[in-house]
């Protein structure tokens, strides 16, 4: 379904245009889809008969570009953070092992207990 619009009404009246154009520019900035590389028409919900037919009528190049823009936009997931967490774990494990205190078993003690000096609150895993 095409978007309902007052744009023609506003453009014909210069006093309205003078106020509305900067407002519309601000709104478009705030919407932010341009920053993701999307066009306004990419946002139109495609769950309607007209839209499906319109998509079928697109030229191959336009269709490809539309899909490309959408794939490029929906990529916001953490790809580095899990790896960074792993590296931090490795580092802290090394720290813990370095600061270890070993109690050797004597005849009286029950088991060879290996105590770590690092308090529980600091351990990250």
């Amino acid at each position: 379904m095409s978007q309902p619009t007052l744009s023609n009404f506003i453009i014909k009246r210069p006093w309205l245009k003078r106020w509305m154009v900067p407002l519309s520019k601000w709104y478009k900035e705030a919407a932010g889809y341009r920053k993701l590389g999307l066009r306004a028409d990419d946002l139109i919900p495609e769950e309607s008969e007209e839209m499906q037919l319109a998509l079928k009528r697109l030229s191959p190049k336009e269709a490809y570009d539309r899909v490309y823009r959408m794939r490029r936009a929906f990529q916001d997931y953490q790809y580095l953070s899990p790896i960074i967490k792993e590296i931090e774990q490795e580092r802290s494990e090394r720290e813990d092992l370095e600061s270890m205190v070993i109690k050797k078993p004597t005849i009286k003690s029950k088991l060879p207990d290996i105590k770590s000096k690092v308090p529980d609150s600091v351990k990250s895993h």
Binding site: E90, D96, L97, P105, K110, L111, P112, I114, V118
Partner: protein, 455 residues
């Protein structure tokens, strides 16, 4: 952290018990023989022998050496990724824990096997059985480990290999003798092919085949068979029954030929002839071991050339290293004579070496033969006394044929060799094409034709 979850509960309980009382006195007499006892648990084959002393050793011997790798680099990769990150603990953790317990971790590969094992105090057996089970079934094959740890080490090793003319000559001789299979070089000389073939996916698939029930065996020295059986059945529970893909084994065929490689520093000449297979294999000829001792080259007595024929033949070149070795594999073997030294020494003495070899085919002096047989038997039994002895051979024997490498039997069969058999074997060997490999100053080093060998 270093919590109970890391060391299996059973293992910790057992370790605790063992600290309280020694399960075995150190001064207990040995059984007296070097016999291995074999067994099986959860489909995993194992062999052990109880020898006195506080230190035990345990190793996985997998049928995954360079002979069996489908693409180059996998055997080396497998031995380099042993004891790195597993599902349960990190590389650092494994290293630190084994250091704290007091042990040595080893992993290496040979032409037929990859051996991954450890030497440790007897009381820590459960810990190391669990560790080896983790290495076999739970290692993580992560791409970043390859880039950070494995490839750099492999490049460094390749550089050191390129400087070693003897290794190059021996690898070349094997290549000439067996072409593919046993002829694949132990460590490749050039760096490009490895990174193309060795990566996380190919190695994890190779490991899934190498560490499957029919393809590996556990071998232990200094460990009670009943104990080992108990821990193996408890820890080795996830070993796949079938390999990921069949490691194909073809009967090795001997070809022969000649190869010459130019090298700016160092000279080596290797002459290889078909030899004997391992005692657990089909073509075992104890005569070859005696022939190797007879030809010799290195004396066991200082400041004297000794009785061996090659040492006496090359007395004019005292600074040249010469040695004869009988390399045994599961279904074939090579008798290699290695000469390392200055190019002129090798050039002048190579002919004499071949003459000495041909003289054996004519006949063997009785006294020299007796000395050679005694030396062969001595070397065999001395080797058997080492704690590391025959781990690889026993494991390979178990995997390939189901028999362990029993040193007593081998020593007995060496005893049964006669001078005629040695003469016969020398004659047969010379009827084949020899494999001659020369690395170094090619202008000086002789061709096989020039020294009288048929290629």
């Amino acid at each position: 952290m270093l919590s109970r979850a890391a060391i299996g509960r059973q293992a910790q309980r057992a370790a605790r018990r063992s600290w309280q009382q020694q399960t075995r006195g150190l001064a207990e007499p040995a059984s007296g023989s070097f016999q291995y006892q074999t067994g099986e648990a959860n489909g995993v084959k194992f062999a052990s022998r109880d020898i006195p002393g506080p230190v035990a050793s345990l190793a996985i011997v997998a049928k995954a050496g360079t002979r069996f790798e489908p693409i180059p680099g996998l055997a080396e990769g497998l031995d380099r990724i042993a004891f790195k990150n597993t599902e349960r603990r990190t590389t650092l953790r494994i290293q630190r824990e084994s250091e704290l317990l007091g042990s040595v971790l080893q992993s290496y590969h040979s032409r037929e096997n990859v051996v991954v094992g450890a030497k440790f105090f007897q009381d820590d057996l459960p810990y190391f059985v669990e560790l080896l089970a983790e290495v076999a079934t739970m290692t993580k094959y992560q791409p970043h480990i390859f880039h950070e740890e494995i490839y750099p080490m492999m490049s460094l090793h390749q550089k050191s290999y390129l400087a070693n003319t003897t290794e190059m000559a021996i690898n070349s001789a094997h290549g000439l003798a067996f072409h593919r299979g046993l002829g694949v070089p132990l460590f490749p000389a050039s760096s490009t092919p490895m990174k193309k073939y060795l990566d996380a996916d190919s190695l994890s698939e190779y490991a899934a085949s190498a560490y499957s029930q029919p393809n590996f065996a556990l071998v232990a020295n200094g460990v009670d068979n009943g104990e080992l059986s108990k821990w193996v059945s408890e820890m080795f529970t996830d070993v796949p029954a079938q390999p990921a893909y069949q490691i194909k084994t073809e009967q090795s065929k001997y070809y022969g030929g000649e190869e010459r490689i130019a090298h700016a520093s160092g000279n080596s000449l290797v002459i290889a002839l078909p030899g004997s297979s391992s005692p657990t294999g089909p073509f075992y000829k104890p005569e070859v071991a005696v022939l190797a001792a007879l030809l010799g080259g290195q004396s066991s007595i200082k400041w004297s050339p000794g009785f061996s024929l090659l040492a006496n033949a090359t007395q004019s070149a005292p600074h040249m290293f010469i040695d004869t070795k009988s390399s045994i594999y599961s279904d074939a073997g090579l008798l290699t004579i290695t000469m390392v030294g200055s190019a002129s020494d090798i050039k002048n003495n190579a002919g004499k070496v071949v003459e000495a070899l041909k003289s054996v085919a004519q006949g063997v002096d009785k006294e020299t033969f007796t000395k050679a047989k005694a030396l062969a038997k001595f070397k065999e039994l001395q080797y058997g006394q080492e704690t590391q002895a025959a781990i690889e051979l026993t494991g390979a024997g178990l995997v390939h044929g189901g028999k362990a490498y029993q040193i007593d039997e081998v020593a007995k069969s060496v005893e049964g060799v006669t001078a005629e058999k040695v003469q016969q074997i020398a004659k047969e060997a010379l009827e084949n094409k020899a494999s001659v490999s020369a690395v170094g100053d090619l202008y000086m080093l002789p061709y096989a034709e020039e020294i009288g060998l048929k290629v």
